[in-house]
């Protein structure tokens, strides 16, 4: 269909196109005309040597000594999500932040960066950010806000002790913010402080956070915890888990009990799908089972669970845990009930893991275990509030359905909102103050384990704006607070005692991005009440109703990233759904309801209804629908508006994350879901291999004959000193998607929008294929072990005998002497023959001029080291050749030879589990050369004789023999 027709094909199409998405323009715009002129010039044979345009060169007036034009620099800073920080190194080109990397010195990153960190740089340049202070309908300025909050004026309204003053913050662990809040409370003792975020760590006053040491855990059991792919510390945990998984002495074993299907669940060796209501029973059964296995007398008999298979599964898991007592870990999801979390604690205690593999830290979050900090519900209930400061967050959009925030904001005379956007909450507030992006502001933050970092700006505010600390300082009585000064005074107080002096401390803190030994002390044990509250009986699954789970979207989280086109177009890890959310149903449930992917459902509970398309996902527990939050936005974020459905509208405060007894009905409407991968079955093919521990990759192909390596047809041509290659360990890959966003940011990969994705025109150079073992997709979705699912990052394989190269008529894609499959955009005429002949289908084509309509602001994010492709040319993964060449030049400038492990690609750098390894095959100590010789190493489609430079390491399925009977792991399982 044409753009024009597509516009009408889908009711939920966003009103505006996201930044960087081609819009249907006039048939022949002026730019087209100019291009055609260029074309005619080109026809005259002048292309590539056209008359040099008149350009100006503007040097500095005074050259800053630390700056060399054209040479990027890296600054350490930290990004916080739900109050907890991840340390980052941000690349800056001539003053423009262009790329985010993890900070190797930071405990929450260890050099990795997740999708949100990677994509945050695009949010900095989001043209939809608010640009002015607003009061009512008028544009106001900062001074007006300052006058409003000046102590005298404020006092007259909120009373001398601040009875009428309320502050609503997002969860924060920033030492500066906490200190400023203390000052605010000194000044206004009666003022109320409230914290709200839909998916922040537990808000039931539990101040202890589990801090497992996964590097030493032989057996891990997760109770609905997606600890490998989401949460404030997941990068670190994924790293630690992968370290143990890959260590000698056999891989660790991962059990996952969950209701939805998460990357962690897909990574598990054994997985149990249960309804959310059953989880407490399951946890209790596990505890009982463990006690029984350890021969503890007075072990209560295990409560009977739903069915025999489940009980058997739990018994086996319990035995396995007991066998690994002191070397195992039980983790519970942060959004589980107190009962489940306490049972997990009891399990770890029972198993003697405390002080060995399981530790606890006091939550650094404001208000953790502090009754004086109220919740959003308390605030909504509060009467005679005069002035309310909403410092970040979007409660109007994401509050529980039965908390009337809109009413509150209508009641309160003076409401001040601080945020990046004029979002739903901003529009309901009298005042709006543009917030600073974290790459624009000074501040500090703490990580999950308490480690503190400084947040430093890389660029002057693009649209003006202020940060929460400055507003708090205003309220606390400072006349003209500046974040930088506030921060320095705060830390001068605390760093003064250091011998080296404050300046040294300051410089070091900024350089390393971490404040030395600021982590919270680890507690070896946590108090477990003598009597763990008895598990609630699982709700009867009434006929025709579902249990609905609300989960943070792996992409837009709670909606705060909904305006980020990179994240909107990032395929959801398990469904590859882009540009929206859907109700995830198991095949059995879908069959029972008679719905297929795309059919619209009406989910109803408590008089509230949500209309959302269904999507069938093997592995979701039967009778359960999983909804992702963060969609159906209605703020000023044009990219986000109208994309997906607002799922929060269904969930009351009492059941924020799981709601039972939800009625379901088909509306008859159907939506064409924007999936990047509509086919999950393997059809007897073996792109992914699964082996048992220690077993080499199967040498039989699907047909049963022995797989012979295709003999090389042609003699190798002499090569360069380095031969670049990559290995991807499928046993470490969780499919989180960080590599995809990293690639997009590094290589100026455009966004095509929902229509583009539906038309199969997404531009990702690196995609993550998600396969389900066919047996699973058909029947075994309900089986206790759940389906076997494997994620496979797929990118240009840089074949040595590349099928794409010999079919290109103009030598636009050829092979370099160091083994790269080169793509020369400026030579490409766009026959697309190369894509047809690429068996991996990793080539991407510029169907429209995706970069033409980029605004000036968005253009600032572009990486100047990578050509921005024009319409009509093919593009694909280059192994980040710009990094390779820069490294080579740097080495030769420094007069040394380049090491084999010195260069890395954006995807490999971002990967938290180090599943992707890049380097040169030549040279001593080459890691990639070593991994290529691993018994698990294989090449996808090697029977075609393409000799790819990318090798995959087979997924390991470390099955528990006691459970292996239920599902025998083997290569053929993944294949048939």
């Amino acid at each position: 269909m044409s753009d024009e027709q597509r516009a009408t094909s889908d009711g939920r199409r966003p009103a505006e196109f996201p930044p960087g998405v081609a819009r249907p323009g006039p048939v022949l715009s002026r730019r087209d005309f100019v291009r055609l002129l260029g074309a005619s010039a080109a026809l005259a044979g002048v292309y590539g040597c056209s008359r040099r345009p008149d350009e100006l060169i503007l040097p500095y007036v005074h050259q800053p000594p630390e700056l060399t034009p054209g040479v990027p620099q890296y600054y350490a800073t930290a990004m916080t999500l739900d109050g907890l920080a991840t340390g980052l190194l941000v690349e800056s080109h001539d003053g423009r932040p262009t790329k985010v990397e993890g900070n190797p010195d930071h405990p929450a990153s260890l050099g990795a960066a997740g999708v949100h960190e990677q994509a945050s740089v695009l949010q900095l340049y989001d043209p939809h950010r608010s640009r002015h202070v607003r009061h009512g309908a008028q544009q106001a300025d900062w001074d007006a806000v300052a006058r409003l909050l000046a102590p005298v004026a404020l006092g007259q309204r909120v009373g001398a002790r601040g009875e009428g003053l309320r502050l609503l913050l997002e969860p924060t662990a920033s030492p500066l913010t906490v200190a400023l809040l203390a000052r605010v409370r000194e000044r206004w003792p009666a003022a109320g402080v409230h914290v709200h975020a839909p998916f922040a760590a537990p808000d039931d006053g539990d101040a202890l956070l589990p801090l497992p040491d996964l590097t030493r855990a032989d057996v891990v059991l997760a109770l609905d915890a997606d600890f490998l792919a989401s949460g404030p510390f997941h990068l670190r945990w994924a790293h630690d888990w992968a370290v143990r998984r890959g260590a000698g002495g056999g891989p660790s074993r991962l059990y996952v009990v969950e209701s939805g299907f998460t990357p962690t669940g897909a990574t598990a060796d054994h997985r149990l799908a249960v309804r959310p209501g059953e989880l407490e029973t399951v946890a209790a059964a596990l505890l009982a089972g463990v006690r029984a296995a350890r021969g503890v007398t007075s072990a209560p008999t295990a409560p009977t669970t739903a069915d025999e298979a489940t009980t058997a599964w739990l018994r086996a898991a319990a035995r396995d845990l007991a066998a690994a007592a002191g070397r195992c870990v039980v983790v519970a999801g942060p959004r589980q009930s107190a009962t489940v979390r306490l049972l997990a604690r009891a399990l770890n205690a029972e198993l003697g893991n405390e002080g060995r593999t399981m530790w606890y830290v006091r939550s650094p979050l404001l208000g953790a275990g502090d009754a004086s900090v109220g919740s959003l519900a308390d605030l909504a209930a509060a009467r005679d509030v005069d002035t309310l400061l909403v410092l970040g967050g979007n409660p109007v959009y994401d509050a529980p359905a039965d908390v009337d925030v809109a009413g509150l904001l209508r009641r309160v005379p003076n409401t001040v909102h601080l945020g990046l956007y004029e979002d739903e909450t901003a529009r309901a507030c009298a005042w709006h103050v543009p917030a600073l992006h974290y790459l624009e502001r000074w501040g500090d933050a703490r990580a999950y384990d308490g480690t503190a970092s400084l947040v430093q700006p890389l660029v002057a505010p693009l649209f003006g704006g202020h940060c929460a600390d400055e507003l708090l300082a205003l309220v606390a009585g400072e006349a003209t607070p500046r974040a930088h000064d506030l921060l320095q005074t705060h830390w001068r107080g605390r760093a003064g005692d250091r011998a080296s002096g404050f300046d040294a401390f300051w410089r070091e803190a900024l350089r390393r991005g971490v404040i030395a030994d600021s982590a919270a002390p680890r507690a070896a044990s946590a108090p477990v009440p003598a009597v763990v509250p008895p598990p609630a009986a699982p709700p009867r699954a009434a006929a025709g109703t579902l249990e609905v789970v609300l989960a943070p979207c792996p992409k837009v989280h709670d909606g705060r990233f909904a305006d980020n086109a990179w994240l909107q177009e990032l395929p959801e890890p398990m469904t590859t759904l882009t540009w929206g959310n859907a109700a995830q149903l198991s095949p059995a449930t879908a069959a029972r309801l008679g719905v297929e992917s795309g059919d619209e459902l009406a989910l109803g509970a408590g008089g509230r209804t949500v209309r959302v398309p269904a999507i069938v996902v093997p592995g979701v527990a039967d009778g359960v629908a999983v909804l992702h939050a963060g969609y159906g936005r209605d703020g000023a974020e044009e990219t986000a508006r109208g994309v997906g459905v607002r799922a929060q509208g269904l969930f009351p405060r009492a059941a924020r994350y799981a709601l039972a007894g939800v009625t379901v009905a088909r509306t008859g409407a159907h939506h064409e879901l924007a999936l990047t991968q509509p086919h999950w079955r393997l059809h007897g093919r073996e792109p992914v291999r699964v082996v048992a521990p220690g077993q080499p990759v199967a040498r039989e192909d699907a047909a049963g004959g022995t797989r012979r390596r295709a003999l090389p047809l042609y003699e190798r041509q002499p090569g360069a000193p380095h031969q670049w290659a990559m290995t991807i360990d499928l046993d470490r890959c969780t499919g989180c998607g960080a590599c995809m966003v990293a690639c997009q940011a590094e290589n100026n990969v455009p966004v095509v929008g929902p229509e583009g994705v539906r038309d199969g025109r997404e531009m990702h150079w690196l995609r993550i294929d998600r396969y389900y073992a066919d047996a699973a997709t058909d029947a075994a979705a309900a089986a206790p072990a759940g389906p076997l699912s494997v994620a496979q990052p797929m990118l240009c394989q840089h074949c040595e005998d590349a099928p794409c190269e010999y079919v290109c008529p103009v030598e636009a894609t050829v092979h370099s002497s160091d083994g790269l499959n080169e793509m020369v955009y400026n030579r490409c005429v766009g026959t697309r023959f190369c894509s047809n002949n690429c068996p991996y289908k990793v080539r991407r084509f510029n169907w429209f001029d995706y970069n033409r309509d980029l605004g000036d602001v968005e253009a600032l994010q572009r990486n100047p080291d990578v050509t921005v492709r024009e319409r009509g040319v093919m593009e694909k993964c280059t192994f980040c050749v710009q990094r390779i060449r820069e490294a080579e030049i740097r080495a030769s400038v420094e007069g040394r030879t380049l090491g084999p492990n010195e260069v890395t690609t954006a995807c490999a750098q971002a990967c938290p589990t180090r599943a992707i390894v890049f380097g040169s095959l030549t040279g001593a100590g080459s890691e990639v050369a070593r991994l290529r010789e691993d018994p698990r190493a294989y090449a996808v489609l090697d029977e075609l004789g393409t000799e790819p430079r990318v090798r995959y390491l087979a997924r390991v399925r470390n099955a528990n023999p006691a459970l292996a009977a239920s599902r025998a792991p083997s290569a053929s399982e993944a294949a048939t």
């Binding site: 090389p712 047809l713 042609y714 003699e715 190798r716 041509q717 074949c799 040595e800 005998d801 590349a802 099928p803 794409c804 190269e805 010999y806 290109c808 030598e811 050829v814 092979h815 370099s816 002497s817 000799e947």
Partner: protein, 194 residues
């Protein structure tokens, strides 16, 4: 050697003898068979420079006049050979000599891959050679010919058959005699070309 429509070597010799060219005379016949008979008879009578005109090739006439193939097959062959050489040469020069690149690991001088384009070049050059050889041999295009002004001659391309004698042919020097002989052959009419 070919004997062109206006004679060649023989003309030269006549030239040497310094004879004036005999006036051209055209005789019209009703049927192709009459034409063939007339031509054969004229040759028997010793006319050297005889040409026949017909709307379609009349069997036997060209043979009677001993017309050859004008060397067209040879030119075509040479054209084909040249085409083959150019075709392969260009490919070898560009791929293996001027800028050899590693393309899919294939050898630069990929003989099998060069066959199709070589073949096409061969055919193209051969065909053009044949066409040009024909035009050149017939000295076409030549919009004006003395015959074309003769009233009634336009039917030579429709349904009538003509014979021309004269030119560098001493046998045709005697206009009256030639005319009688032509009429004797059953010509519908005989016209002297001005």
């Amino acid at each position: 050697m070919s004997r062109g429509p206006h004679g060649t070597a023989r003309d030269a010799r006549d030239e040497a003898r310094g004879d004036a060219p005999a006036p051209l005379q055209l005789a019209e016949f009703a049927t192709g068979d009459e034409l063939r008979a007339a031509v054969e008879r004229l040759r028997a009578l010793g006319y050297r420079d005889v040409e026949a005109y017909s709307p379609y090739p009349v069997p036997g006439v060209a043979e009677a006049l001993g017309r050859g193939r004008g060397g067209i097959p040879l030119v075509t062959l040479l054209g084909g050979l040249a085409g083959a050489a150019i075709g392969y040469g260009v490919q070898w020069y560009t791929q293996a000599w001027s800028y050899p690149l590693n393309i899919g690991g294939r050898p630069s001088n990929a003989v099998p891959a060069f066959i199709p384009a070589t073949f096409e070049a061969t055919v193209l050059c051969a065909a053009l050679a044949a066409f040009l050889a024909l035009l050149a041999g017939l000295r076409l295009p030549r919009l004006w010919h003395p015959e074309l002004g003769v009233p009634g001659f336009e039917r030579a391309t429709v349904d009538r058959f003509w014979v021309r004698v004269g030119g560098r042919d001493r046998r045709a020097a005697d206009v009256a005699l030639t005319r009688r002989e032509l009429e004797g052959l059953g010509a519908v009419r005989v016209v002297e070309v001005a």
